[in-house]
């Protein structure tokens, strides 16, 4: 663990009084290693470690275990501050229906998250509509329709000749007619390098004026999380993130990277394949997990 590795470092430094820059660098090498092993982006790690170094030089090395714990506590506090607040509230539109778009890489968990969000909205007394605007993936509409049935929420599915924009627009129109709110739009997975699909995403956003665009990201995403967050953000106004598959044992350092680089909030985490497997994001729990 980071604490035991730091303890090893401080064992060697004990009795030397105040921490010199060199001592701190040795301790920070362990912090750097822990963060990289946790999948935090290497550029973000650099910035984070520089920030921690400024604050750590000059502190006294009293007893090695407490020094190690001190550094870990300090790193953890900085991390919690970086990760932001726990705030699962979703913004509503000025006039209903509100539209929530789910975007992200292939297989991240968008369709599953759409079902979970619908159940959550329903339990808050809302009357959501699910919209199956993924016209690319085989049986995508059937997948969402099956989840819609499981959670007892209506779903709008495409006609054979529909475009993603067409389905999304029709879904919003249907919601308006039937007084359903919010409209949760599931979209096809895409790579941020795919210009056609990024254009499609931007078109859907312009056509539906969403009050929330959630980037759904797999918690086990590695260094590429930064590219993904930045590139998607260039095409649509991302308002928040959902980190999925947090029930796996990935440390989840991508959370730090996307927060540092975009400033958008992590709103929810996915913690199982089931429709009740969605929880508000907790920065303190996430920090503990990343530090291992």
């Amino acid at each position: 663990s980071l604490t035991s590795r730091l303890q090893g470092v401080f064992d060697r430094l004990r009795g030397r009084g105040a921490l010199t820059e060199k001592d701190v660098d040795e301790a920070l090498k362990e912090v750097r290693r822990a963060l990289l092993e946790a999948d935090v982006n290497f550029k973000v790690v650099k910035e984070f470690v520089t920030h921690v170094r400024e604050k750590a030089v000059g502190q006294d090395v009293l007893e090695s275990l407490s020094a190690a714990q001190q550094v870990v506590k300090f790193v953890r506090d900085e991390m919690v501050a970086l990760l932001g607040q726990s705030d699962p509230r979703l913004k509503g539109a000025d006039s209903p229906p509100s539209v929530i778009l789910l975007a992200g890489l292939n297989g991240a968990g968008k369709t599953t998250t759409a079902g979970k969000l619908a159940l959550r909205m329903k339990s808050e007394g809302k009357r959501p509509l699910l919209v199956a605007a993924d016209i690319h993936r085989p049986a995508a509409a059937k997948q969402l329709a099956t989840l819609a049935e499981q959670v007892g929420v209506p779903v709008h599915t495409p006609l054979s000749s529909d475009t993603a924009v067409g389905v999304a627009r029709d879904g919003v129109a249907l919601a308006r007619r039937e007084s359903l709110d919010p409209v949760i739009v599931d979209l096809a997975g895409r790579q941020h390098a795919d210009e056609d699909l990024m254009r499609e995403l931007a078109e859907v956003s312009r056509a539906t004026s969403p009050s929330e665009v959630l980037l759904v990201l797999d918690a086990m995403t590695g260094q590429d999380a930064v590219n993904t967050a930045l590139e998607f953000g260039r095409h649509v106004p991302i308002t928040g993130f959902v980190l999925t598959k947090m029930d796996a044992d990935a440390r989840g350092g991508a959370a730090i990277s996307i927060r540092q680089v975009t400033g958008h909030p992590i709103k929810f985490v996915g913690i199982s394949e089931k429709m009740d497997g969605l929880e508000p994001f907790h920065p303190d729990r996430m920090a503990g997990r990343i530090l291992g």
């Binding site: 049986a139 997948q143 590695g222």
Partner: protein, 274 residues
């Protein structure tokens, strides 16, 4: 590093960042540097030393071939965590075999996830291959047994088994996986001829624990590295090959049937530094 015979500090840092940003693990990066420094003044330069080290770690001499059974059908079993690209990779592999004139049958053994069977069925139609499925919620082992039995009766060359995504941390799901592979043995007199673990190229260090856990549950004989058309470079496979000896056999480069290539270690090493 082209043309250099010694690694200076600035180049070392640049090289380290290139490897880390490709998701190569911290430990493996340290190991790579140790090996390059050991061959400190490599006659053909640092670049050659680096390529040699990486080639060695990737198991340059292991085969990228998908195994063929002694008697038909050859059974290829596909596993992996949720959403990595199993079903789509199976469709692509079925297409590859069909192009080679082989008879392929797909076993729709993901009886759990919403519309999983529908998804595979559409792919079977597009490829033009056979498929055996039961109702959603059926026993996946029974689907596999029926699929392999049907393949034997019909003289099918290859059976490819699709399974539900499962987290390597769920011991009950890993037990289920073992049970499903045993159904192959019951029907075919031997276990799967090839057991492929599909990894998502955008996954970070967790890929290594996925490989480790799946390998301890079933006999993983090869990796499929899907989504290499992303900007992620899949560097975790270096650690997996080096530490666990499992070779990458196939690479997924998109969502269409022809987006599957046989793994090329030299190309892969080049792409790490792209």
């Amino acid at each position: 590093i082209q043309g250099k015979t010694i690694l200076d500090a600035a180049t070392e840092e640049e090289l380290e960042e290139a490897l880390l940003s490709a998701d190569v693990s911290y430990e493996t990066v340290e190991k790579i540097f140790e090996r390059i420094r050991e061959s400190r003044q490599h006659a053909d330069g640092v670049q050659a030393a680096l390529k040699e080290t990486l080639a060695g770690m990737m198991g340059a001499n292991t085969s990228q071939e998908i195994a063929t059974g002694d008697t038909p059908p050859t059974v290829v079993f596909v596993a992996g965590v949720n959403g990595v690209g199993k079903t789509t990779s199976i469709a692509k592999l079925a297409y590859m075999y069909t192009q080679q004139g082989k008879q392929v049958l797909l076993a729709a053994a993901d009886t759990f996830r919403a519309a999983a069977i529908d998804q595979l069925e559409i792919w079977a139609q597009r490829v033009g291959c056979q498929i055996v499925k039961h109702a959603p919620g059926a026993d996946p082992a029974a689907v596999v047994f029926d699929s392999v039995s049907a393949a034997k009766a019909r003289g099918v060359d290859i059976v490819i088994v699709d399974t539900a995504g499962r987290l390597h941390t769920r011991s009950n799901l890993m037990e289920e996986l073992k049970k499903i592979t045993r159904a192959v043995e019951k029907a075919n007199g031997r276990g799967p001829d090839e057991t492929l673990l599909v990894l998502d190229a955008t996954t970070g260090q967790n890929a290594i624990s996925q490989a480790r856990e799946f390998l301890s549950a079933v006999d993983i004989t090869g990796l499929v590295l899907a989504k290499m058309d992303s900007s992620a470079r899949g560097g975790t496979v270096i650690s997996i090959s080096d530490e666990l000896g499992v070779p990458v056999k196939l690479v997924g480069t998109g969502e269409q049937l022809d987006d599957l290539k046989v793994f090329n270690p030299e190309e892969f090493v080049e792409s790490l530094f792209a």
